[in-house]
Symmetry: D2
Subunit: 343 residues, 4 copies
């Protein structure tokens, strides 16, 4: 019997406060295409919370779209993006970046994080006009493996990129989870100046949809709305995105929701560890990757939805369990009881 | 003093029933990416209402996106799209189709509608491999000038396209207005089989966002989800679109909303005509284009929002007035009174 | 019985001096990819002959390739090219520019030449981010209709482009014919500073293949070799192009060949006029467009190759007759005799 | 003092017979764009020599161009190419394939050759619409490391591709060297049916420029000339390519030239081995990769041109020495003497 889905952090709709805000403002007439007062206010709020007063802020409907628009607008035709091979743009966007004409270099990384050495090496190897020119380093915070870059790591990356003439772009689909992780040593305002552009993910943290693209580097600000329009990212009712980000950031709702997701994941981690199961990565956020015997997985699948993630050995797989702002604590408790009681 | 905006049909949020449906379903857990039960049911409903039982139905977030994904998936690299020069893809999408690598031929048309002769001519002119090969005819219903194709006209277009080996694609951003126009002689179920693919616009007819792409031609159905994903059109919370279309089509809400918009525009047309002003086109839908002296426009602009549309002569311009599901009748009355009382 | 082809100016191989130069240098070892001494010397010569000492000069194998590489490297993703509708990029390159992601605006022009007014209008119409941004004006000298821009016309165009922030690019596939036309009032050194970039056509004026792209505007010089490589335009044996341009420009061979082609066309024009036939355009170069009755065309086709060009009326067509460096004067004489003697 | 360049196999012009053939045919008038009689005859010859009577054969000017046109015409927008990471398209074409919108997967391979296991794995990993769909396997024969696929290996690859629904495409820039290698166990006629499309490299084996693209799979033959035109690959004087391939294949000149290049490389290999130096790969063709101490390299560089290839250890590098149809045997002898006599 199906009990609960840990498949992802977008299984439900939006946080109730979001729905209320939409209802409250519903009949106010506003200009279209993100020029409404809500979007303007939300952009101001984002600038304030990121401490980046000179940033441009644009709202788009999803993460792949944010990546397409941001990355393609940073690159000349022969320039490329550096990513780890588990990066969302590398594997999970159906070649969206290449469809805009650009190569994505897939580096091995370590626990989902790119290393300084790999960046130096790929740049050194691409030294003349028969090759693409690496131009942007793409990272995710938190990563696809649930890990996070520390302040030190992100600072080092930022410095290296500056030194090598690379832009640093951060995919923040799960930025909330990263910033509220118990191991987080970076605030939003500390992170923002370290990158040239990034996006703050709404969809996976309480919004119905929407991501806030923040462009810090003035070189990258020019003409960005052309890019959004051309890629199909300019919503007629842009207010829909502005209203949600206003609600998420006018107090600490965004962080509260992310913290809840992390706490639920942490509780799961503690419980699963106590039952003696190992993990694929040392996740500090709302995605965890326990390793179970195939027989355990088979039984769990009758009650819970989740993805099997990677092959470990002929008897074991890692699975991905994702929690969210909407995960009720009893669902965690029940999962742990069920896991304990498995044959 | 600002009284009302006739600038477009997306100045407000969504119809209250839409908001209620979102709230009602909010915490139900569903799979992502359009594989939720709401989207499946909405797709079934659309198939039923269009009478196209073999159609594939996909929901995407906006019209430009629907056009990018649909058109680019119909074309080989050297194939092109035929449109009138007022077509949305020709002028108002920042080169979105060209950005996918394809030429758009801009034909003169007549009152926003493409003519059979122009299509035959452009096809005849492109006859060998030094030229692009025209492959899709793109039309809008209603058009950018508020006009509509009659059953006869659309039937003739459809027959010509079949004869010439062209796909026929219909941009239905304002399809509701076209189908409920007092002059409409085509139902949704009569229109659908005449085109290879089309989309039913939600954003401009009561949805918060969303368009339903309907693909009738089986040749065009294969792999369409790859295309959606690659262009950034696959929403994580696809339910958001499914729920809205379910609400719009489970009874006649979609048509009721469009009919209201048309009625409001009709009332405006009658009133403006009675005051002796001419019109740019004989619009039968929710966009009308009266021609006013510049002095009148200047005074109206102090009270109402609308776009000035085209230059007529040194003393006159046409303006565009748009009504929607949300336009209250008193706003119409007030506008007409104000127009009458102008100095 | 077939006597001669006036179909185009690339029916033969290369000028004998070109073949000799290739043979003479054949076994000298040189670096690849245009870094050979011949290409360097040829680039220097081109800089000298154009009087553009700061120009970058690159050699590529054909006109479409020159256009693809030059235009795409001038444009951001949402920027477009303005051309007359008879322009080579508009109609005869299979959508090559669009395949790099850019819209080409097709203007009516006058006798194959773009007008100032049309440029001003198209720029005025494209004023915000829902539209592409026109960025380059593309012209041909001589045009596809054999006409040429005068010094005054080109100067005015250049000034307008500067004023409007547009680049001016000149397709010189038949630049030799334009510069040596009896009506030419511009030298190569006078023309060059009026445009941001252009190419000097070799293929249609005595080379086996090859065009010299001249980039005057320093903004456009950066990274151009990446663009050539990425589009497949960097020949391993770049010497093949350098040697030819060296031969064509080390004395006045390039101009002598073009002048011969023009003289042959002029002789044809005079003779055909004397026989009472009218012309489609007042061509001053090596392409002429006489209008013949269909019955005349039918008889000529048994002896000569040429293209029928455009429909005039049910009894008449225009045809295109092209002469080249390789057209022997007796072929002209014979054609005129045959035309005179037709039934 | 500079003595000789082993930098590549395109340091000289074309084989003298090629130049003679060009001179002999120079003033014959022929249609343009590859529709001349020489190109037609050369295509027939290629069909005959490859034993692929149903193949389409097209001539283009360079290898990157052949790859761009062939690969992009095989792929839908979301489909990708599989290559080894040393593949020319992966690293040495400035992102040309990605510029047409397609991902290139970079696999490790073994000695420059792709392995069956890697192909199976990458296909298995890309199983749904959030990912690209691998569609073509790209290989080179000989590889960038001078190695060759045996008949067994190529047969296995071909069978696997058929089984997995992949096209197999072979980059034959140095196909001559592969087919005439002392270890070759495949003739041209045995190789051709194993691949869906390939090209026979002329530029690196005696032509001034030119590659013959052979398309065996009828699915891939349709509309190919549109693709060539659109990418700027259709030379006006297509005869230039046809004449050369006619000369190369009307007897065994193509194979004789390649055999000479291999023999020169073999003589170098034997001589260098005798002097006690190891090699990076066991090359069987005209590119060899000896490993020398840095001090040796420094001295050789004063007399010979060649590329240093890869870092081995702090005291050693591998270098690449390339021979060609034009390498005189005395240059080999002298190099070996010089190497022996180095301090």
């Amino acid at each position: 019997m199906f009990k609960f889905s840990f498949q992802n952090d977008y299984s439900e709709g939006g946080h109730p406060r979001i729905l209320k805000a939409l209802a409250r403002t519903n009949l106010v007439q506003e200009p279209g295409y993100g020029e409404d007062t809500y979007s303007q206010q939300a952009a101001d709020l984002v600038r304030q919370k990121t401490g980046s007063s000179g940033a441009d802020v644009h709202f788009v409907s999803g993460g792949t779209q944010a990546n397409i628009i941001s990355l393609s607008s940073m690159l000349k035709s022969f320039e490329s993006v550096i990513s780890v091979d588990t990066g969302h743009i590398c594997i999970h966007e159906a070649g969206a970046i290449e469809a805009t004409g650009h190569k994505v270099h897939a580096l091995r990384g370590l626990s989902g994080k790119i290393t300084l050495h790999e960046i130096e090496q790929i740049v050194a190897e691409h030294y003349f006009e028969h090759m693409v020119r690496p131009r942007v380093v793409y990272i995710s915070q938190s990563t696809e493996l649930g890990t996070i870059y520390s302040a030190q790591e992100l600072g080092d990356l930022s410095a290296l990129c500056k030194k090598l003439g690379l832009y640093l772009y951060l995919d923040g689909a799960r930025l909330g989870a990263a910033l509220t992780s118990p191991k987080a040593d970076l605030t939003l305002a500390e992170l923002s100046p370290l990158v040239d552009a990034f996006y703050i993910g709404g969809t996976k943290n309480g919004a119905l949809l929407g991501e806030a693209v923040v462009i810090n580097n003035p070189e990258l600000q020019t003409d960005f709305r052309f890019q959004i329009k051309q890629r199909g990212g300019l919503l007629s009712k842009g207010r829909l995105l502005g209203i949600q980000f206003l609600e998420l950031f006018k107090d600490d709702l965004y962080f509260d929701l992310a913290r809840h997701a992390n706490q639920m994941a942490h509780k799961l981690t503690v419980g699963i560890t106590a039952l003696g199961y190992p993990f694929l990565t040392d996740s500090l956020t709302n995605q965890i990757f326990p390793i179970f015997p195939d027989s355990v997985i088979k039984q769990l699948e009758t009650m819970y939805h989740f993805y099997t993630w990677s092959f470990i050995d002929p008897q074991h797989m890692s699975v991905r369990l994702v929690t969210s702002w909407a995960t009720p604590e009893p669902a965690i408790d029940e999962f742990l009881v069920d896991l304990k009681n498995l044959g």
